[in-house]
């Protein structure tokens, strides 16, 4: 979902702990990629929080608060 579909398999392959290449790519996506523009989605409500210039906007609207 972060725009690296070609690099990562959709699911972890069996014995992924030993797959150096996979681990390196996973590490990159988890720890080195900074989302500048995009969104965070709440897994419960599905509500999207936009990310702009690397900063997520988590302000709630009047109704939500």
């Amino acid at each position: 979902k972060l725009g690296h579909p070609s690099e990562l398999p959709p699911e972890p392959v069996p014995n992924y702990e030993a797959d150096e290449e996979f681990l390196r790519r996973l590490h990159h996506v988890l720890l080195e990629v900074e989302v500048l523009e995009g969104s965070l989605q709440c897994p419960d409500s599905g509500r999207r929080f936009p990310i702009s210039k690397g900063v997520p906007n988590m302000l709630l609207t009047e109704d939500e608060a």
């Binding site: 900074e34 929080f49 210039k53 690397g54 900063v55 997520p56 906007n57 988590m58 302000l59 709630l60 608060a65």
Partner: protein, 506 residues
């Protein structure tokens, strides 16, 4: 006690040579600084007075530069008891001059020590040699009418008046670093033949050492003499004694003289810019020294999660992340412009992997309960932040802060004088419980009591905390210290709290 001059020409300076220093500090920060010099530099003979901390330490410029709660750092030259005040101005000026006047060799020694400490390595010895010769040439009677007139003009120009009596350092405008020019001068002068005569007085003027006197005087002395007069008298004496050139704008050396009812102090600043000006902060918000002091109270340990829910430009987070990098820092703010400024600061400081930013409201933090070890914040106040004029918002803010904090965690807040005044019980309790309370900014006794790091809350702290928080039920936030600090024009108060469990312990 005069500083014994170190021998020049010692070659490479080892950081093991102890020296006597002092730092200026914003009022209220002296105990923080005293603690810091002991911890960071292994300092001894630490002496705190209002606005200054004196100490002895064997430290190099790299280590000295790391001091975070100091305004400016000086090499201590003289520290004497206060000057006797009489109606006799002439006599007083004479005594003041005696404070500063020494044999030229004393000054050369001092300069070489100072140069080593500033990081001017190498040529110090050659320069000292040449300066000695320059001094001798001057005093051997170069005085013709032209140069006398020049001197008088310089004397009028060089006095820099700093009559700041009240709390807080005025920040000296950053000056161009002229170490390059310094070297050009000394290199040229070393080419001069070291013969006694035949030199050009104009060339001599250009190549001689330049200085400026910064004089501050307050108390009884200020009633008889102005700092301007004193500065001028000292300057004239130095020109006469050492043959230096006075330069107000961009001197090689600044001599700092502070005369008050407590002592007479002479020092040389080690760095041109105040230590409080951080090279890693692009846009300043809260004074960095105060921000650091607040972070130092939060007990940040490795792996801690620290939150500033009203981070503004991120000053507190920057100071904390620089000093305690093994923790994770989160900042939240509702203002786009502040967040952009904070983002810029974080990138400038290279702390992107340590500090996360959120656009969020402190009244509804998108963060799990009991997830943070520390909450540190400068509660915005004053006309600039209209929303905060209503002090009823404070309990809402505290409620969220308390929620996201884990049991045993700390809250460190900076509150204005006004916010404190709005909570009546707060100031009343502070005064009645303890005469050395920080409420009225009396800092003489405060240094002793100020740093209570562990939980034994004094009656002062209890009184303050209970009345402040009793309007809502914040039973789990126990007060653990109040520290008055100066923010320059205003005063503010650092309040520390600890979250306890329902059983009342942590």
């Amino acid at each position: 006690e005069a500083v014994p001059p170190l021998r020049p020409g010692l070659g490479k300076m080892s950081s093991a040579e102890p020296g006597r220093f002092f730092c200026t500090a914003g009022r209220g920060l002296e105990p923080f600084l005293a603690r810091e010099v002991r911890a960071r530099l292994g300092a001894t003979e630490v002496d705190c007075v209002s606005g200054k901390v004196f100490f002895r330490a064997a430290a190099g410029p790299g280590e000295l530069r790391k001091l975070r709660s100091a305004e400016r750092l000086f090499l201590l030259l003289k520290k004497h008891s206060p000057l006797p005040v009489s109606g006799n101005r002439g006599k007083m000026l004479h005594e003041i001059k005696n404070l500063v006047i020494e044999e030229p060799k004393y000054w050369l020694d001092i300069i070489s020590v100072w140069r080593r400490l500033c990081g001017h390595e190498g040529k110090a010895d050659d320069v000292s040699q040449e300066n000695t010769l320059a001094l001798k040439r001057k005093s051997e009677g170069e005085t013709n009418t032209a140069s006398k007139r020049q001197k008088m003009e310089q004397v009028r120009a060089f006095v820099s008046e700093e009559c700041q009596v009240e709390a807080g350092e005025r920040c000296v405008a950053p000056e161009r670093m002229s170490s390059q020019e310094c070297w050009i001068e000394s290199e040229t002068s070393s080419e001069f033949p070291s013969k006694g005569s035949g030199e050009n007085p104009t060339a001599n003027e250009k190549l001689s050492f330049s200085f400026r006197v910064s004089c501050r005087c307050s108390g009884a002395i200020a009633k008889i003499l102005t700092s301007q007069e004193i500065g001028r008298a000292i300057g004239i004496a130095l020109v006469k004694q050492c043959g230096w050139r006075a330069d107000l704008r961009d001197p090689d050396l600044e001599i700092f003289v502070h005369l008050n009812d407590i002592h007479s102090v002479v020092g040389i600043p080690l760095f041109r810019l105040p230590l409080a000006n951080r090279e890693y902060i692009k846009t300043a918000g809260l004074r960095s020294t105060v921000a650091w002091a607040m972070a130092s109270l939060a007990e940040i340990s490795a792996g801690a999660l620290v939150l500033d829910p009203m981070c503004g430009l991120g000053t507190i987070l920057l100071e904390a992340a620089k000093e305690w990098p093994e923790a994770c820092y989160w900042g939240a703010d509702i203002s786009d412009s502040q967040l952009e400024g904070a983002d810029g600061n974080i990138r400038t400081a290279g702390l992107m992997d340590k500090i996360e930013l959120l656009k969020a409201s402190v009244k509804a933090l998108p963060l799990p309960s009991e997830s943070f070890d520390s909450v540190i914040s400068d509660i915005p106040f004053g006309k600039k932040f209209k929303i905060m004029n209503d002090a009823q918002l404070l309990p809402d803010i505290l409620q969220e802060m308390e929620r996201v904090l884990r049991v045993g965690g700390t809250v460190v807040l900076l509150l204005s004088q006004d916010l404190r005044k709005l909570t009546d019980g707060l100031t009343k309790c502070a005064r009645s419980d303890s005469p050395e309370a920080t409420a009225d900014g009396n800092s003489e006794a405060a240094p002793a009591k100020a740093l209570r790091v562990h939980g034994n809350s004094s009656s002062l702290a209890h009184g303050v905390g209970e009345s402040f928080l009793s309007s809502r039920h914040f039973g789990s936030l126990v007060p653990d210290g109040v520290y008055a600090v100066s923010l320059g024009k205003t005063d503010a108060f650092i309040h520390k709290y600890r979250k306890v469990s329902a059983a009342g312990n942590w």
